[in-house]
Amino acid sequence: MMTGSERAVGEYLDRLERSLRRLPPRQRRAILEEVGEHLDDALAEPGPDPAEAAVRTALDRLGDPDDIAREARARFGMGSGVPSWTDALAIVLLLLGGFLWVSGWIAGVVLLWMSDVWSTRDKLVGTLVVPGGLLPAVWWAFRTTSCETSPRGEAVPARDRSYSRLRSGGAGLYAGSCAGPEAGGDHLSGRPSGAPGPKPSCGLPGSSDGPSSNAPCLA
């Protein structure tokens, strides 16, 4: 049976682990272990306080997990983790850059990898998932009779043809694009706290299950 004190310590360590998630795993583990040992030490000290008050004092002295994470990022040269306007632009270009010829998307990928807001894993997802995620948008614009099964294979020729379509049906295209890249774009924009940038809000069933998601056949 877990006491209130154990729960408080557990919650604190969980919060710390979440705050440290962008750190290399080895450093994250080291810090978590030692903070855990610190708490064991602090609570083993004889004191007049009842256990829960002692736990609260120990946790207060350790400080906010976010402060520890900020210190860790500074110590390991990982930047502030505060998103800048180029990070917002990276998201916009990744989502919509494919329609500004492919160069817009390439610029988005460059900005994405230059950023220090996202982890390597996030960047891989942003690079690999987002262009595949654009496929539903293209499909939406054309409403062709065939339902495409390869997220990468037919994307480029379909996108080429989409420029003429873009002029006539831009609104529909945008609606599709904001549903399509949900898997990649939402993953990125949800990561930094308070990240600026578009949040895809309209949902298309089946569009958010990762790199292998195919264009759903709604016709």
Partner: protein, 102 residues
């Protein structure tokens, strides 16, 4: 400035004896204004260990459970000596200026 100085304060605490982390946190906490919260010391210790300035090992402690003790490495000792020289020059220069404007 505090961030840049703190790591050397940790090295200085380890100059004469091995200490475990909780003891280090208390040692630094006793120095007024050096550490805002104890937890921020752990990322620093992880960094110092990664750079090879300190090493740690598990040992029995005189009281309580086995603990991870930190000690200064030769590389850390060099860094500390160098900082100590620089710090004295810096402190004297600042003191001279501050004293002069009063």
């Amino acid at each position: 400035m505090r961030r840049g100085t703190l790591e050397y304060c940790v090295l200085a605490l380890l100059r004469d004896e091995e200490r475990y982390a909780f003891n280090l946190v208390r040692g630094l906490g006793a120095a007024d204004g050096l550490v805002t919260s104890g937890g921020t010391l752990y990322p620093l210790l992880a960094r110092l260990r990664k750079d090879g300035w300190v090493a740690s090992s598990w040992r029995e402690s005189p009281s309580g459970p086995p603990r991870r003790y930190y000690r200064l490495t030769p590389k850390g000792q060099d860094a500390l000596d160098q900082f100590t020289d620089e710090w004295r020059r810096f402190r004297d220069a600042v003191d001279a200026l501050m004293g002069g404007t009063r």
